[in-house]
Symmetry: C2
């Protein structure tokens, strides 16, 4: 299996509420919107929004209406500075975003906070001093000198 | 918020079992392995494996030992042909992978199956005839002619 991933589908309770959050609160532009499923293109890999019922059915699992607060995964948006993390949380708060954890210094040497989307999917916003986000929005490890 | 995503952290029950699956069954090479957390680089965005307990604590949510079968999200690996989907499932089965849904024609016009990783995270392997995976492993929409 080649080292790649094409789609990350997030199950949602209400596609209109979820689309509004990603398109308007976060400000992302959909790659395509088929009404029941919305794709965002992050440079060749795609988060998608689709109903919990449809997604559970697709994997042949029963759909329990209420997921636990912890869904078993998180998504992270990394920045090149602590100030970018702080700025993003200020803007999210202004737009009514739900903050799970205020930005703070964390045990692994970085600076990080969490917000959640309308379906409780957890997003970390973090600055890792060993990492750089390049102009294409991609991760690069900062070489350490000896 | 720029249109990007850096890390997708998958909560796991046993980091050694999960690492073995991604590194040996799927055949991916870690970008870094800090023992308690393992990162795989998919060209500038990183799936990571980390303990359920640690991840739930990080987002300040209670950890319920057992997640429902449906975790609220799925990951998808897209291919350029149906044969690639079939081949991958044959190999996964040989290696003892757990198949959730055999590859089959699906309502949206593609061909798709699902397997799960050792922690029950659902992976779709799909061929979407409107999509192409380029040499960099990235999605491109196939232009439709009028």
């Amino acid at each position: 299996m080649e080292q790649r991933l094409t789609v990350i589908t997030l199950g949602v309770n209400d596609i209109d509420v979820a689309r509004d959050f990603y398109s308007n609160t976060l400000g992302w532009t959909p790659e395509s919107d088929l009404g029941k499923i919305v794709f965002y293109d992050l440079g060749g890999y795609l988060p998608a929004l689709y109903s919990h019922e449809g997604l559970a059915k697709d994997i042949t699992a029963p759909f329990e209406r209420k997921l636990p607060a912890y869904h078993g995964f998180t998504l992270a948006y990394c920045t090149n500075s602590r100030a970018e993390v702080d700025d993003l949380f200020v803007k999210l708060r202004e737009k009514g975003g739900i903050i799970l954890k205020k930005p703070q210094e964390v045990f692994w040497g970085g600076y990080s906070g969490y917000f959640q989307d309308p379906d409780g999917h957890a997003w970390e916003v973090a600055h890792n001093p060993s990492w750089r986000i390049n102009r294409d929005g991609r991760f690069e490890r900062i070489a350490t000198s000896d």
